[in-house]
Every structure is written in structure tokens, then in C-alpha cells.
């Protein structure tokens, strides 16, 4: 499978001290890749650095096999973007946006755009700034999809949506990925959502990738073992990735359930979900 987004040695340092470590990333075509991380972990920064909205201090980004610096126009024609703070001119209405976008994207499809607006019940003559959070998000999704992009980059795309619309939007993403070669890169705090639709996951912590891989393989392989302090002392540090302690005891994150089971025969290993995985990767004691 070809890499559709290839990031090498991406680094970014802010004046406030936040630092993006050297990030290497390879996103395969035809996948839904979910980026997880707590607030401030660098999810939006990573997406913006990939798109050159924020300047990188170092590193290279190739999208669709081409450098973004050299082929900005060609690459961005193929990217649909939904971001909280990347606003379409909010004083305008969806009708006016259509006439603007039609001149900005070669592949802009007005009928597709109006279909989405109709489907999402978005009024044509209402200023964008007067739309509710959910409406605004749906409008952004409609605009992002209407120039037939190959890649969708979505930052918290379902924030503010009610469960019905959320499901509808997730279905749209699933339909989008069915078309050959289409790829989605999305960040979210909602782990259940990523668990539902993503093929691969990336967990970010303080600007560094702490885990990446195929979601199903990770879920199959990783697990949690809960031990009391006496049993915990007997476990070799190499056999777990991190742990958290609470009233129930020590919760250990293990990377390979079968290996652990072989070594500690009496241990009870629990399956893990993305939320537990993220908490243990980010907040756990290493």
C-alpha cells in the first residue's frame, strides 16, 4: 500500500516552550487514521504543520508523493479540511461561499455542495456566523467534501453535533473512504468514535507520538492487568509499558497479551479499549 502522507523529522517549537519532537509519520492510502491525545498534546499543531498552515522548524512533508512547498496548489486541490479555527468568511452566507469556492477549487462541484446543504438542512441565505455549532460543523463538512478531495483532514469533526447527526457524519466519512484511494486523517478526543471508524491510530503526548499502528492489531495485542502491590513488585519492568494506581490496585498496560500470559500464568488480562489505552499511555507511570 502506498503512503499518501509521508512526514519525516517534523519539528516545531513554540515560544511558550511547547515542542514538537521529531515526528515521523506514514499514512497509507485508503485508511482512516485517528489521532488521539489529551488537550494540548499537539493534535491540531500536527495537522496544521502537515498542511503548512503553521511553519515547521524542520522536517519534510510529502502528500500524494509530492512536496507541499513545491506543489501547494495541486496538493491542496485534493485536500478537504475541517478545522475549528480555519474559518470560511463567517459574515457571508452559504450561497456566497459557493461562488467564492467555485473560483478557488478547480473541482468545485456546486450541485454536490447544494446536495449536502440540503441533506444537512443548512439555510442558504443565513450568515455563517449565525449558524449553531452543529450547523457550522456540518456546513464545514459540506464545503470540505464538495471539491471531491482525495484526503480529508478533520480536526474534532463531530464536536458539538447531536448523536443523530454525529452518526450521519460518520456514515458520510465511511462512504468517502469507500472510494478507491481516499484517505481520512482525523483528530478527536472522543475515543469511542475513533474506535468505531478508524483503521489506524496515533496517540500523541506532549508533541510526541507515543503509539501508532493498526487499531485492531493494537486492541488485540494490548491489554490491562490489575495487580496488588505484592504481585506488582514481582513483575519485570520490561513486561509492561506503564501503570496507574487506584483503589483497586496497580493497572498495568501490556503490549503483548499472549507473551505476558506465558510468563505470568495466573494473571488475569483484560481487553483494552482506546480510552484506557490513551490514559495509560499518556498518564501512566513509565
Amino acid at each position: 500500500m502506498n503512503s499518501i502522507i509521508e512526514v519525516k523529522g517534523l519539528a516545531k517549537k513554540y515560544k511558550n516552550g511547547f515542542q514538537f519532537g521529531k515526528v515521523d509519520l506514514s499514512i497509507k492510502s485508503g485508511r482512516i487514521v485517528g489521532i488521539l491525545g489529551e488537550n494540548g498534546a499537539g493534535k491540531t499543531t500536527l495537522l496544521k504543520c502537515i498542511l503548512n498552515i503553521l511553519h515547521r522548524d524542520s522536517g519534510t512533508v510529502n502528500i500524494l508523493g509530492k512536496s507541499l512547498e513545491e506543489f501547494d496548489s495541486e496538493i491542496k486541490e485534493n485536500i478537504g479540511l475541517v478545522m475549528d479555527d480555519v474559518f470560511l468568511p463567517e459574515i457571508l452566507n452559504p450561497k456566497e461561499i459557493d461562488s467564492i469556492m467555485g473560483n478557488l477549487y478547480q473541482n468545485w462541484d456546486s450541485s454536490e455542495y447544494y446536495n449536502y446543504l440540503n441533506r444537512f438542512n443548512i439555510p442558504l441565505d443565513k450568515k455563517i456566523m449565525t449558524l449553531s455549532t452543529g450547523m457550522l460543523k456540518k456546513f464545514q463538512i459540506a464545503a470540505a467534501l464538495s471539491h471531491h478531495p482525495k484526503i480529508l483532514i478533520l480536526d474534532e469533526p463531530t464536536n458539538g453535533l447531536d448523536p443523530i447527526v454525529k452518526n450521519e457524519v460518520l456514515d458520510i466519512f465511511t462512504d468517502f473512504i469507500k472510494e478507491k484511494g481516499n484517505t481520512i486523517l482525523l483528530s478527536s478526543n472522543i475515543t469511542s468514535e475513533l474506535e468505531k471508524i478508524s483503521d489506524d491510530i496515533i496517540i500523541l503526548d506532549k508533541g510526541n507520538i507515543v503509539l501508532e499502528g493498526e487499531k485492531d492489531k493494537i486492541i488485540d495485542s494490548y491489554g490491562i492487568v490489575t495487580l496488588n502491590s505484592k504481585a506488582f513488585d514481582k513483575v519485570d519492568k520490561k513486561d509492561y509499558l506503564s501503570y496507574v494506581v487506584d483503589d483497586e490496585g496497580y493497572h498495568l498496560l501490556i503490549a503483548n497479551k499472549s507473551n505476558f500470559k506465558k510468563k505470568y500464568k495466573n494473571s488475569k488480562i483484560k481487553d483494552i479499549d482506546l480510552e484506557e489505552l490513551m490514559i495509560l499511555m499518556v498518564k501512566g507511570v513509565k
Binding site: 478545522m83 470560511l88 473560483n103 478557488l104 477549487y105
Partner: protein
């Protein structure tokens, strides 16, 4: 570029009333009080383009610009295009205003009209050539705060300082020479505007937003 130019005009539409009000005030002041008000028209075109920059900042569209294909280059092109359009509108307004003044005021000869139009075009272009790259380098907020008031004041000072030499030139030289001089001035400022456009693109591409 067409899309962003359209966006700029749609944004301008939302602040059309105050812009027209300023123009009407200038016209009335010029007709009733002093013909020198004509020079402040130069600032009017700068005010309009500043309004577009401010609208972009206010409605947070700068990141949107960076997210579209060749967005920053298209945005600079559109902004220079709107500046030139504003200079054309301005020159028509000055032409009409100076023409009316030449009818109303006997000491204001109609031969002055094209000269004044050419001078206002040259100075407007010069204003944009200086002001746009600074704005693209530092952003509209910093530019307005740091240099805005000074440059407006400075522009007035320059305009009133050159007023006498202009009339001196008008009275001492033949009309052919004056027209040629003014034409050259416009050509020089157009060249300067092109250089300014190249600098603006480089400055904007370097800037993060």
C-alpha cells in the same frame, strides 16, 4: 484570485455604508470649504483596503486563506487587484470632483483637473506600494497600531508640503512638460507597485498566518 477578489468585495459590502459616508463627507467638505480636500481622497482608497484587511482579521479568514490552493499568492494578487480597482475608482471620483470645482471656483482652471488626477493616482499607488508589503510582513493589527496613525499623519504632512511646489510647477512649466512629468510619475509608481507586490508575496509566504 477571482474567488478571493469576490470574497474581498463581499466583505467590503458589509462595511459599505461608513465608506460611502466618508466619501460624501469629503465631497461636501471639498465643495463647501477647500479644494485641497482633494488630496485626502488618496487616503480614502487606503482606508478601503485597510477595511478589507480588518474584515479578514475580524472574521478570522487568514487561516482559511492558507488552507486553499496557492491561497497566500492568490490573496496577495486579489489585494493588489482591489487596490488598483480602488485607485481607478478614486481617480474617477477625483476627476468628477475636480471638474465640479473648476466650474464652481473661477481660479481653479480646468487644465488642472487631469494633472490633479494623475498626481492622486501616483500618490495612491505609492501609498499602496509602501503600505501593503509592511502589512503582509507584520499583519494588519501591528501595522495599523505602529505605523497607521504615523503614516496617515505623515501622508497629510507630505501632501500639504508638496501642495505649493505642485502649483509652482503648474505655473512655471508648459502643460506638455507637466503632463509628461505626471505620466512618468504614474509609470514610476506602477513599477514600484510591482516590486512591492513581489515583496508582499515573499513576506506573506514567510509569515505563519
Amino acid at each position: 484570485m477571482k474567488g478571493l477578489l469576490k470574497k474581498d468585495f463581499l466583505l467590503l459590502k458589509s462595511v459599505a455604508l461608513p465608506i460611502i459616508a466618508i466619501l460624501v463627507m469629503l465631497l461636501v467638505a471639498g465643495l463647501v470649504e477647500s479644494v485641497e480636500v482633494i488630496y485626502t481622497f488618496i487616503l480614502w482608497s487606503l482606508v478601503i483596503v485597510t477595511a478589507v484587511f480588518n474584515q479578514d482579521r475580524f472574521h478570522r479568514t487568514e487561516e482559511f486563506i492558507t488552507s486553499i490552493p496557492d491561497g497566500k499568492i492568490k490573496a496577495v494578487k486579489a489585494r493588489y487587484a482591489i487596490s488598483i480597482i480602488m485607485v481607478i475608482v478614486l481617480s474617477l471620483a477625483v476627476f468628477a470632483f475636480a471638474g465640479i470645482n473648476s466650474i464652481l471656483h473661477p481660479n481653479f482652471y480646468y487644465t488642472y483637473v487631469p494633472i490633479i488626477v494623475l498626481i492622486t493616482i501616483a500618490f495612491s499607488l505609492l501609498g499602496f506600494a509602501i503600505w501593503l508589503p509592511i502589512t503582509y510582513r507584520f499583519g494588519i493589527l501591528k501595522t495599523s497600531l505602529i505605523s497607521g496613525m504615523w503614516s496617515v499623519g505623515g501622508m497629510f504632512a507630505i501632501l500639504f508640503a508638496i501642495k505649493k511646489p505642485i502649483y509652482k510647477v503648474i505655473t512655471n512649466y508648459t502643460m506638455d512638460r507637466i503632463f509628461m512629468g505626471c505620466g512618468l510619475l504614474v509609470f514610476a509608481t506602477l513599477c514600484l507597485l510591482y516590486v512591492s507586490y513581489i515583496i508582499s508575496i515573499k513576506a506573506y509566504l514567510k509569515r505563519e498566518k
